[in-house]
């Protein structure tokens, strides 16, 4: 597990706010805010919005893997659960369920349901440690996929639900390119800031200590299981919010969206970006979405998976910390720990 355990908490005393308010973040936010002015609708929604959504789901994985040492493959399942809640209790045109409850009821409900489901998954997964978590969460994700596919009474089986619509509030239709982009951006910024701030909170530090040495933490008297399950619940909030956005983005939810492929895709995004800092998943998401969109010109639509698979293999082999790790290696020395903990992390490999 060295890949996720290498990150020792060295700068314990810095407060979360100091991490958040940096020139780099200011510039990034400024760029993201004016992005709609220079991007076409396609780049705004299909690249920008979609990257932010996938980035949020990958962020929920990064929270678990980077700070908790639990690599989960079930994050897309959690997002999918929120999307199914939207489809079942909101409006859909599949003719099954679709209770058309107002958006301000179903949205919190969807996110809450996803987070509780996430905590339940976590409760199952934390009974074992390390590499077992991957196996168990993959089994959970696959089982959920098959279940939604063969069950028509609840999930409308293979076709799933289509015709999901984002709400119209303040005279704006929130699925229009610009409002949707800002909606995604707002969610992503809140999630990103929360993770970054939370990592320096008492809970965040305790979680990282549990990751580094669960036995010692248990001996000191911490409830290791409760901390891990709570981390799952928090990651479920982020994944759930992303799931709601995903439902509005696609306008549909079907078993195909939560199949093993998409589940692994989230892991690929997080790994390609890097698990050491919350910005990693978003970088990974942009890279993967760009490859996804433009690979067609390179290798044809058919062999896109081979390309992304090879790219992923190259990242795992060459730079275990993803693109963030590459950046760490080439960037100028003075601001070396601007993105997080110290330079001597290679020394704590286990």
């Amino acid at each position: 597990m060295s890949l996720v355990e290498t990150q020792r908490t060295e700068k314990l005393r810095g407060s979360g706010w100091r991490e958040l308010v940096t020139p780099a973040h200011g510039l990034l936010l400024l760029f993201l805010l004016v992005y709609p002015a220079m991007a076409s609708d396609f780049f705004l929604t299909q690249i920008g919005g979609y990257s932010l959504i996938l980035g949020m789901i990958a962020l929920s994985l990064m929270l678990l893997a980077g700070y908790g040492g639990m690599v989960s493959l079930a994050q897309i399942t959690i997002a999918g659960a929120a999307a199914y809640v939207i489809a079942i209790f909101g409006e859909n045109n599949s003719g099954v369920h679709g209770f058309a409850w107002p958006w301000w009821v179903i949205t919190p409900m969807a996110i809450l349901f996803a987070s509780v489901l996430s905590a339940a998954f976590g409760w199952v997964a934390v009974r074992t440690e390390g590499i077992y978590t991957i196996m168990i969460t993959l089994a959970i994700a696959t089982a959920c996929f098959y279940f939604t596919q063969q069950n028509y009474a609840l999930f409308n089986g293979f076709p799933g639900y289509s015709g999901l619509r984002a709400p119209e509030v303040f005279g704006l239709y929130w699925r229009d390119p610009v409002p949707f982009y800002y909606l995604c951006l707002a969610n992503a910024v809140v999630a990103y800031a929360a993770v970054l701030y939370g990592a320096r909170s008492t809970f965040g530090l305790t979680l990282q200590a549990v990751r580094d040495n669960p036995r010692r933490m248990r001996a000191i008297g911490y409830n290791v299981t409760a901390h891990k399950v709570f981390a799952w619940w928090l990651s479920g909030l982020i994944a759930g919010a992303a799931g709601v956005l995903l439902a509005w983005f696609n306008g549909r939810i079907s078993p195909g969206s939560i199949a093993v492929g998409p589940a692994i895709n989230i892991l690929i995004i997080a790994i390609i970006g890097g698990l050491r800092h919350p910005v990693g998943p978003f970088i990974g998401a942009v890279v993967v979405v760009l490859i996804q969109t433009f690979a067609i010109d390179l290798v044809g639509a058919e062999r896109f998976n081979t390309l992304i698979g090879l790219f992923f293999l190259a990242v795992v082999f060459l730079s275990p910390d993803g693109i963030l790790g590459l950046w760490e290696r080439v960037k100028p020395r003075p601001d070396r720990d601007a993105w997080g903990p110290g330079p001597e992390r290679s020394g704590v490999r286990e």
Binding site: R127, I136, A139, I140, Y146, Q150, N305, P320
Partner: protein, 350 residues
């Protein structure tokens, strides 16, 4: 004084253990008697009403047993590789599917089914060997990265297999001496004229079951009666100590990986002849191996057999009696196992 009390306590424990074992023995006998009665007795009407019909029930049991045989073939390699190398080979399903395709090609071109089976085993064993030597030996001790690499390999493999063999479903033709159905000496019902209706079952499926049993016994003998088996078991218990005592651990690893991959390929051909070969089967058998190994216990071949039996039976019985909730049964079994015995039924404590 203390000696006496110790022996006393030991006796007490022994007594408790013996009576507990006796209790389990009685339970096993009762279950066996009930099963024998279910198989051979003529069912009363109320039982028919509950379990649809004797024929449906017995067919589900037999299908479950043959499926368990297949699952065991796939999962035994998976569990050995995991137990020894702590390497979750998520490309195991791809080995199964590739083995099936290779077996199909060879059997189709040469006309000899047995040659196809042999090719499936040998070629997959060689590929497993190459994977171990080229990929996993480089990342030794870094189990998360090893797992990530297997994910990358499985993505690329699935895509390339789709490119070569397309999305169509193949059926490996079984030679004539294995086809047909046989009449089992089990009476399912009586016709109105008093003639007995016997249970008819495809001969080949029984052969699959027999093959799985033979391979299982062979594996058990190899592990428990040969020198390499001794080394493998020692490696599962304590890899470092095995290396320290002067054994060539890499040789043992390579051998186990070859056997595991070969068995997956073998199962691919045998299973592809009983069912069918199509894209997506890799994920199905990966899920099956995961669940079987989680339930049965990592690193234990006996555990894989027990797990395969439970999951195979549960899946088929679920298919007949709860068609749209079948997967849930598998899932519940996994969760219950994890909460009662996180290391699996035959697993050593974590």
């Amino acid at each position: 004084m203390s000696d006496a009390s110790n022996t006393n306590r030991d006796d007490l424990f022994r007594g408790a253990r013996a009576s507990r074992r006796q209790a389990w023995g009685v339970v096993a006998l009762l279950v066996a008697a009930l099963l024998l009665w279910l198989v051979f007795a003529q069912w009363p009407d109320w039982l028919d009403a509950i379990l649809i019909s004797k024929k449906a029930f017995l067919s589900a049991i037999l299908n479950g047993l043959t499926l368990a045989g297949l699952y065991f073939l796939v999962a035994s390699g998976f569990t050995l590789v995991f137990g020894l190398m702590r390497n979750v080979n998520l490309a195991h399903g791809s080995l199964y599917l590739l083995g099936a395709y290779v077996g199909y090609e060879v059997a189709d071109r040469t006309g000899f089914w047995l040659l196809g089976v042999a090719a499936g085993f040998v070629i997959m064993a060689v590929i497993g060997l190459v994977m171990q030597v080229v990929v996993f030996r480089r990342l030794e001790g870094d189990d998360l990265r090893q797992t990530l690499v297997t994910i990358g390999i499985s993505i690329v493999a699935a895509d390339l297999m789709l490119a070569v063999w397309g999305g169509t479903t193949y059926q490996i033709l079984v030679p004539e001496w294995l086809t047909g159905a046989i009449k089992l000496p089990v009476i399912t019902a009586y016709r109105s004229n008093g003639a007995a209706v016997y249970l008819v079952y495809p001969y080949y499926r029984l052969v699959v079951l027999a093959i799985a049993v033979v391979i299982g016994i062979g594996l058990w003998l190899m592990l428990n009666r040969t020198r390499i088996g001794m080394m493998i078991r020692a490696g599962v218990d304590d890899r470092d100590m095995l290396a320290a005592s002067g054994k060539n651990v890499h040789l043992v690893f390579a051998a186990v990986f070859a056997i595991g991959a070969g068995l997956a390929g073998f199962a691919g051909v045998v299973g592809g002849s009983a069912l069918s070969v199509a894209p997506g089967e890799d994920v199905r058998y990966l899920l099956a191996s995961l669940v079987v190994v989680i339930v049965g216990g990592m690193g234990s071949v006996t555990g894989a057999a027990i797990g395969a039996l439970i999951i195979g039976l549960a899946e088929q019985i679920g298919l007949v009696y709860f068609p749209t909730y079948g997967v849930v049964i598998t899932f519940v079994i996994m969760v219950v196992t994890l909460s009662v015995r996180p290391q699996g039924i035959m697993g050593k404590s974590l």
